[in-house]
C-alpha cells in the first residue's frame, strides 16, 4: 500500500508488531466458557501490563494516547498476530466512549481503569424479550427511591453477551412511563452480583453460553450510577450504537487476518478448486473494507462524522464475514462438518463460521440497517409506524 504513514506511525507499528510477535497467545479457548473467560482475562492483564490494552486512551489511564490512525494500525497488527477478539470489548469500545463523554469524574475514576486489565468485564443490557429491533419499546423500569438517593430497577433483559461471565452491566430502563417513547429512558450502570439480579445463561447456536438473560427484582442503584441525565438515556445510548456498527467493533484487521488464513488454506488445499472465486471475492471484500476504513479514519480525523454510514459499514462487514467463512467451509469439503479437536484448525473455521452467522442479527439487524441507509442516506420515505393512529 502506497498510503504514506508518518515515521512515528511506522515506528508505532513496528513496536506493536514486535511486542505482539513475542506475546500474542494465538487462539484461546472460547471466552464464553469458564476456562476460556479466565484465559481471556489473563490475556487482558498481559496487554494492560505493557500498555497495549487501550492504546487510544490517555497515558494516565494506561493508554498510549494513540491517534485514530495508530489505533487502526494496532488493530491490524493485533489480528495479524493471531490474537483473539477481546473479552473486554463491551467495556472498552461501547461503554468507555460514553463514560469519557457523559460520565462524571467519579464514574470515570471508578470504572475506566478496571476495564483496561480485564478485572471488570461489562455486559450490554439493552434488548428485552419484547424489545429487539424496536429498542425504544423497552419496559424494564426504574422507579425513584429518594430516601436512599437512587433508583429501583425491575424487569428483564435478554441476549446480553458475556453476561454469564461478566461483572457489571450497563443498560436502559424506563424512568418516566408518561414521557414519549424515546424520552423517559435512563442509562444505568450496575453490578451483576447485586442483590435482586439473577443471570441465566443461554446457550448460543455455537453451543456456548455466550449470552444470557438478566432478571431485575427490585435492584437498588444509587444516583452515582446513572450515566448522563435521567431521562436522557436514549441520546446517550445512541452515541454507542454508531460505534458498534461503525469503526470500533469491527476493525479491518480482523477480516484481513481471516482472509490471509483463507488464502493460506486455499493454497494448501486446492488452489484450482471451484472455491477460487469465493476466495478471490473474499480477499477483495477484505481489501475494500480496509481501504474504506482508511477513508473513514481520514474523515473522522478531519472532524467529520460517520452518522448513518455506520449502517453501510455494518451491512458490509457482516456479509463479508459470512461469505469468507462459507468459502472456507467449501474448501474444507466434508471436513467442514467437524468441530473441536481433530477438526481442521482445531475447529476454528467452524467456530468462526457459526459466529459470523450472528453478524446480520446483533448490533441492529441488517433489515433495520437497510432501512436506515434507505431513509437517512438515500432519502426514501420513513417506514409507516403501526403504533401511530392514522
Amino acid at each position: 500500500m502506497s498510503m504514506k504513514f508518518t515515521a512515528d506511525e511506522s515506528a508505532f507499528r513496528a513496536e506493536a508488531r514486535q511486542w505482539l510477535g513475542e506475546n500474542s497467545p494465538g487462539r484461546l479457548p472460547s471466552m464464553d466458557t469458564e476456562n476460556g473467560a479466565r484465559a481471556h482475562r489473563q490475556w487482558e492483564r498481559t496487554l494492560a501490563a505493557s500498555r497495549w490494552s487501550v492504546v487510544a486512551w490517555p497515558e494516565d489511564l494506561g493508554g498510549r494516547d494513540a491517534s485514530l490512525t495508530e489505533w487502526v494500525i494496532f488493530e491490524e497488527e493485533y489480528y495479524r498476530s493471531g490474537a483473539p477478539t477481546r473479552i473486554s470489548q463491551n467495556g472498552i469500545s461501547l461503554l468507555a466512549p460514553i463514560l469519557f463523554q457523559h460520565g462524571t469524574a467519579d464514574q470515570q475514576a471508578r470504572y475506566l481503569q478496571p476495564m483496561t486489565d480485564g478485572s471488570e468485564v461489562w455486559a450490554q443490557a439493552w434488548s428485552e424479550p419484547e424489545a429487539g429491533s424496536d429498542l425504544a419499546s423497552i419496559r424494564s423500569r426504574a422507579s425513584r427511591d429518594d430516601e436512599r438517593g437512587g433508583w429501583i430497577l425491575s424487569g428483564q433483559k435478554t441476549w446480553s453477551s458475556r453476561a454469564p461471565w461478566a461483572d457489571r452491566g450497563f443498560g436502559l430502563f424506563r424512568t418516566d412511563p408518561q414521557a414519549e417513547r424515546h424520552r423517559g429512558l435512563t442509562y444505568f450502570l450496575f453490578p451483576l452480583d447485586a442483590e435482586g439480579v439473577t443471570v441465566r445463561p443461554i446457550g448460543q447456536l455455537d453451543g456456548d453460553a455466550g449470552f444470557g438473560e438478566i432478571f431485575f427484582d427490585d435492584v437498588f442503584v444509587s444516583d452515582d450510577d446513572v450515566l448522563g441525565a435521567p431521562g436522557d438515556g436514549w441520546r446517550v445510548a445512541m452515541s454507542t450504537a454508531g460505534n458498534e456498527r461503525g469503526l470500533s467493533l469491527r476493525s479491518p484487521g480482523r477480516f484481513c487476518a481471516a482472509v490471509d488464513r483463507l488464502v493460506a488454506l486455499w493454497n494448501e488445499r486446492d488452489a484450482d478448486s471451484a472455491a477460487t472465486s469465493g476466495v478471490v471475492d473474499s480477499w477483495i471484500a477484505a481489501q475494500a473494507y480496509r481501504l474504506y476504513t482508511w477513508g473513514t479514519v481520514e474523515n473522522l480525523s478531519g472532524g467529520g462524522d460517520i452518522g448513518a454510514y455506520g449502517s453501510v459499514n455494518k451491512l458490509f462487514w457482516s456479509q463479508l464475514d459470512i461469505g469468507l467463512h462459507e468459502t472456507a467451509l467449501e474448501l474444507l469439503g466434508p471436513d467442514a462438518e467437524l468441530r473441536g479437536e481433530g477438526a481442521p484448525a482445531d475447529g476454528a473455521w467452524a467456530d468462526d463460521y457459526l459466529f459470523s452467522l450472528a453478524g446480520p442479527i446483533y448490533a441492529g439487524t441488517n433489515e433495520i440497517q437497510r432501512n436506515i441507509v434507505a431513509e437517512r442516506i438515500l432519502g426514501l420515505p420513513r417506514e409507516i409506524d403501526a403504533r401511530k393512529k392514522p
Binding site: M3, F5, I284, L291, L380
Partner: protein, 326 residues
Amino acid sequence: MKFSLSAEQQDFAKSLDALLGDFDTVSASRAWARSDTGPGTDLWRKLAEAGVTGLLIPEDLGGVGGSHLDVAVAFERLGYHGAPGPWIESAVVVPLILANSDKPEILTDLSDGTQCASITEPDGSRALDSHVAANTFVVAGHRLYEGTPSKKLRSVDPVRTLFDVQAGTAIADLDPEIFTRAYDSAALACASSLIGAGERLLDDTVAYVVQRKQFGRVVGSYQAVKHALADVKVALDFARPLVIGAAHELSAQSAVASRDASAAKVAANKAAYRAARAALQLHGAVGYTMELDLSLWILRVQALVTAWGTTAHHRDRIATALTQEN
C-alpha cells in the same frame, strides 16, 4: 497518511460535473448511436479543454501530466453523465503506450482533442469507435501495429460501435511492462466509469421511486424497494475505495498494482451490475423501454462489465497473484 481526494481533485470533479451537466449528454449519445458523432465530438473538445484528454500525457507533449487518481476522478464523472466515445482507449491506453514509442507526436493531437485514437485490448481483434479515430492500433504479443478497421459489429450498448480490426504495419516492440500498465490503467478507468454509471442509476432510481405511487403509497416507501437500493449503495461505496487504492498503486508503479486494479474492476463490475438490475426492476415496464434515458446507463454498464477484462478474467489475475504471494 493520505487516502482520499485532494481539494484540487474534488474541484476537478465539480468542474466536470458542471461542464457535463450543462451539456446534453443524452442527446449526444443518442445521436452518436445514429452515427451522428457531431455533438459527441463537440463534447470531446470541451472536455479536452478541461484537460481530460491529456490527463496521462506528459506536459511537454501538451498534456496535463496527471496521476491515476485524476483518471479515477474524471472517469467516474464521464460514467455518471454517460459521455459517448472511446474515452478509455484514447485518453488512457494509447497515451500510456505511445509515450514510450517513437511516435509521441500523435500524443500532442490527442491531448488537445483535435484527434482521438482507438486500440484493441491485448490480443483482441476489436476496437471501439474506430470511425471517429484518426488512428486505430492493434496490440498482439508485445508488438504494436497500425490497425485497419473492417467489419462493423453491434454492441449491446447502441452508443458503442465496435469494429473488427486487422493488424497492418508493426510500429513498435514494447516492453511487456508497458502493456501491463496500460491494461491495468484501462481496467481502472473502466471501473471508475462503472461506479459513475452505477451512481447515476441509483440517483435516477431514487428520484423515480419517491414519486411513483402504487396502492396509494409511493413505491419508495416499501421495504423491498428500499432494501434493494440500500444494497446498491453499500456495493458502490465499497467498490470506490478499491479504485482509489489501485490508483495510488498504479501511480507508484508498485508490485501489486495489477492485482489491485483487477480487484477494483471486479468490485465495480459487480456493484454497477447490481445497480443496473435494481434500476431496471424498480422502474417497472418503463425501465424496459429504449425511450427512457435510463436505458443508456443500463446498457453501458452491460458493455463495460465485459470490456477491459471480464469479472472472471480479473478474478484469475488476482488468484494468480495470491498464489504467488504465498
